[in-house]
């Protein structure tokens, strides 16, 4: 039983109700005011090869990473934008698996968002001209939930659809390794 389960107990549950609540349940219906869009082509560079110190996390991560409505929207977009066509429901196919512990281009939410926005070699299309930054970050939050990264309070167990994976509230939390550690 992971520490995550223990954390949900007794009076800590009450604290979770209070502390985690504000961000988890907040619905941001408009992610940014008009006029401050991220112009196309400007996703932050999120690959840091060699021993470079990673950039500090984008402040937007807080708004999306453990945010239940964002993850739920991402879940709907994942099917609607046909991510399942290549990634299936996290198991991978033509595209790499998203529910395992290997992240070729990083498993932080900003790294995933950049992967979606810019596209990646060998077939990941670029979505920055097709989806808003808000939608991309929602998708990134959902993709992280496929490997169990966000708090279990923020993910929905299943979609209203045919069953295609372990319920996400029971999915194990995979460590986020870069893909080459497996080969080392």
């Amino acid at each position: 039983m992971s520490s995550r389960c223990r954390a949900s107990f007794a009076f800590i549950a009450v604290a979770a109700l209070v502390a985690g609540a504000c961000n988890r349940e907040e619905r941001h219906s408009r992610a940014k005011p008009i006029g401050e869009t991220v112009p196309a082509g400007e996703s932050p560079d999120t690959i840091w090869p060699g021993g470079t110190v990673p950039q500090t996390l984008d402040p937007r991560a807080k708004l999306y990473d453990n945010n239940a409505p964002a993850i739920s929207q991402g879940q709907q977009l994942f099917t609607q934008m046909n991510c399942v066509g290549c990634h299936s429901h996290g198991g991978g196919g033509m595209g790499p698996a998203l529910m395992d512990d290997e992240w070729r281009y990083g498993g932080r939410i900003d790294q995933i968002a950049t992967s979606i926005a810019e596209g990646r070699p060998n077939g990941m299309p670029s979505w920055r001209s097709k989806l808003t930054t808000d939608q991309i970050w929602q998708l990134a939050a959902y993709v992280r939930s496929l490997s169990g990264q966000p708090s279990k309070d923020a993910v929905s167990s299943r979609a209203e659809a045919m069953s295609n994976a372990t319920p996400q509230t029971l999915a194990p939390r995979e460590p986020a390794h870069t893909s080459d550690t497996a080969e080392q």
């Binding site: 949900s8 739920s72 709907q76 209203e160 659809a161 069953s163 029971l170």
Partner: protein
């Protein structure tokens, strides 16, 4: 006694008989002030905060229920005012859609789960033992537990709302909107778990009431002589026992879907979105009768006292209560007429829904016949009865209208329905409640409420209610659906909505006036004798407010109106111990004395058990393991609670 009894056994029996003679009992030798002093000592709970938390006195628990429920009524009412401000004008942008959805969810949930049923339970818990001539309810600690569970459920829901994580799915939370995909986060789980709290509370209170009404009545109070309010509460308690498990099951299945990904309501995995509706409304329809039938009990009580005669055709009223209770379980599909189930099957529910109007119509006749045959005195409680008849019958008839399938298909989920249920709930339950609170106020507090303020309050709430809810019938016919945070201009909805909004503030002012009257009268009201209204039932034989032991001697009942038929003093039975808390159990139908039952003293275990169960419920929103690990403290607390106890002072010697 044909067997030969050995000499030493016979001497032992005689010794034990002499010991038993020494135990102090309530008369015939011990009576008057001496008796009352001893009873007072035995039946009082410990002073201080611990005693307050540990009380098992049904009067204290009943008062707590009533005060807490009225608090929730006020909170729910404030939400309603906010909604009416938003809807006063078309295309309004005062309140955001998300906030508005939370408002109507909280308003409905608060009114239905945290006010309507608990206040009826609270009044019953307070008055039933007094009305039945006994000193305590059955299972007093369970009674205390039920209050704490109710309180914790209310705190959970309102705490969440005030922390901005309140539910926003409507008070009946249809799936799949309340399912894991479309209600992300924990809002819906908090709602569902509030249900679990209030259902456990209601079930506990129902068990207490059934056992109290069936087993603790005064000797001679046969079922045929039992007051109509006690009959109403008996039927209601049985209805609670049969209906609440359905919604507790449905909400637990919802939490299970949301927490661990089961597929009860997932159509794509052979679940069914309609399963929720069936389970919920199987509870939901009896629920509204659970709210209404106690109010009919109130009306019977008030009508009898203020028309100076017992209610006409008592057997008919009893049969009407029982048949309404049974029929109420066969109507639930009338909430689902638009869901595409087979039309011919719907006709059955149309007929059943219309049939259930017949017993109620007979009850109304009986009350009117009582008024005709008696001399009605129009003091405040009786005014509320008149207001009830004028208002509830409109609601009942609009209910007959929507019982018809073709009519319901236009009117379902519109403001016509909102008008209907407010007419039956406010007209049918709140008006009698306000009347009965005025009526039993002297019994509860020892003072009279102010009659003038009461009359002003009645007219304000009666007229304000009509102004608020009558235009909603028209709004529904003009095409306004329910649960809309705004409506377009130009379809004719402006005027009905504006009138409703104005009326809502009049109703709010009337409720405030009622509360002011209640608070003011606590300190400045005329001191009440034990029977200020000249009523006929046993609770008026006790002091106002009653002593902790209710009655110095257990009365004997020889008619339906004991206080009107007793010449001089009421006959009593004697023999209950005064050094231990004890009540007299009588047989179920004929109420002949049966057993003497020890009554538990004040105990903190119900509170501790409620906290343990509460923690179990709340943490199981977040993790399924909480069910396993949270069960441990709950088991410990309940084991400690049920641990067999010894009598504190002298155990009664048993003669073999």
């Amino acid at each position: 006694m044909s067997a030969h009894v050995p000499e030493r056994v016979r001497r032992e029996d005689e010794r034990l008989a002499r010991e038993r003679q020494k135990i102090a009992r309530d008369g015939p030798k011990l009576k008057g002030a001496k008796l009352e002093a001893r009873l007072e000592r035995t039946w009082s709970r410990p002073r201080g905060i611990i005693g307050w938390l540990a009380t098992v006195d049904h009067k204290e628990i009943g008062r707590r229920y009533i005060v807490t429920a009225l608090l929730f009524l006020a909170l729910g009412g404030v939400l309603a005012l906010a909604m009416r401000v938003q809807l006063a004008q078309p295309d309004s942008a005062l309140i955001s859609p998300q906030r508005y959805n939370e408002l109507f969810t909280m308003h409905g949930s608060t009114m239905m789960f945290l006010f309507a049923v608990p206040v009826m339970e609270g009044v019953a818990v307070f008055i039933i033992p007094l009305m039945l001539g006994t000193r305590s309810t059955a299972f007093p600690r369970l009674n205390a537990f039920s209050y704490f569970m109710y309180l914790f459920g209310g705190l959970l829901l309102w705490g969440a709302f005030l922390l901005n994580i309140g539910p926003d799915i409507g008070w009946f939370a249809y799936t799949p909107l309340s399912g894991p995909q479309f209600s992300p986060g924990k809002r819906a789980d908090i709602w569902a778990q509030m249900i679990t709290f209030t259902e456990v509370s209601a079930l506990a209170a129902a068990v207490v009431l059934v056992c109290t009404i069936l087993k603790t009545r005064a000797p001679g109070m046969t079922l045929a002589r039992m007051p109509l309010f006690a009959w109403a509460m008996l039927v209601v308690a049985v209805m609670i026992i049969f209906s609440m498990p359905a919604v507790a099951l449905a909400s637990s299945m919802l939490i299970s879907d949301r927490l661990i990904g089961t597929n009860f309501y997932n159509a794509y995995e052979h679940g069914d979105a309609l399963l929720w509706q069936h389970l919920f409304w199987f509870f939901g329809h009896p629920e509204v009768y659970i709210i209404f039938l106690p109010a009919t009990g109130f009306v019977s009580v008030i009508t009898e006292t203020f028309c100076r005669r017992p209610v006409f055709a008592y057997p008919i009223v009893v049969l009407a209560l029982i048949s309404t209770g049974i029929l109420a379980f066969g109507l639930w599909v009338h909430h689902m007429f638009a869901t595409g189930l087979p039309r011919v099957g719907y006709s059955f529910y149309t007929s059943a829904s219309m049939t259930v109007a017949i017993p109620t119509a007979l009850q109304i006749f009986c009350w009117l016949a009582t008024m005709w045959d008696g001399r009605p005195r129009f003091q405040v409680p009786m005014l509320y009865v008149v207001g009830f008849i004028v208002t509830f019958v409109i609601g009942g008839l609009s209910g007959v209208i929507i019982a018809s399938v073709p009519l319901d298909l236009q009117l379902h989920d519109t403001y016509f329905i909102v008008a209907h249920f407010h007419y039956v709930l406010i007209g049918g339950a709140v008006f009698p409640l306000l009347g009965i609170l005025t009526y039993w106020y002297p019994k509860i507090t020892g003072r009279m409420m102010n009659e003038t303020l009461g009359k002003i309050g009645f007219w304000m709430i009666f007229l304000g209610f009509q102004l608020t809810f009558f235009p909603m019938h028209l709004a529904g016919l003009l095409g306004m659906p329910r649960r809309v945070y705004t409506y377009p201009a130009g379809v004719g909805l402006e005027l009905p909505n504006l009138l409703s909004s104005i009326g809502a503030f009049v109703v709010a002012a009337a409720v405030v006036l009622f509360v002011i009257n209640g608070l003011f009268s606590l300190y400045r009201g005329a001191v009440a004798p034990s029977n200020p209204w000249g009523a006929s039932t046993l609770e008026w034989a006790a002091a106002s407010p009653p002593r902790p032991y209710n009655f110095a001697h257990i009365p004997v009942v020889e008619s339906r109106t004991p206080l009107w038929d007793a010449e001089g003093e009421l006959p009593v039975v004697t023999g209950l111990r005064v050094d231990e808390k004890e009540i007299l159990l009588t047989t179920v139908v004929a109420a002949t004395p049966d057993l003497r039952e020890p009554v538990p003293g004040a105990s903190l275990w119900p509170l501790i058990a409620a906290i343990a169960v509460g923690v179990l419920f709340v943490s199981s929103i977040f993790s399924p393991w909480a069910v396993v690990f949270g069960a441990i403290p709950a088991a410990i607390a309940t084991a400690a609670w049920f641990w067999p106890k010894e009598l504190k002072r002298h155990p009664e010697p048993v003669i073999s």
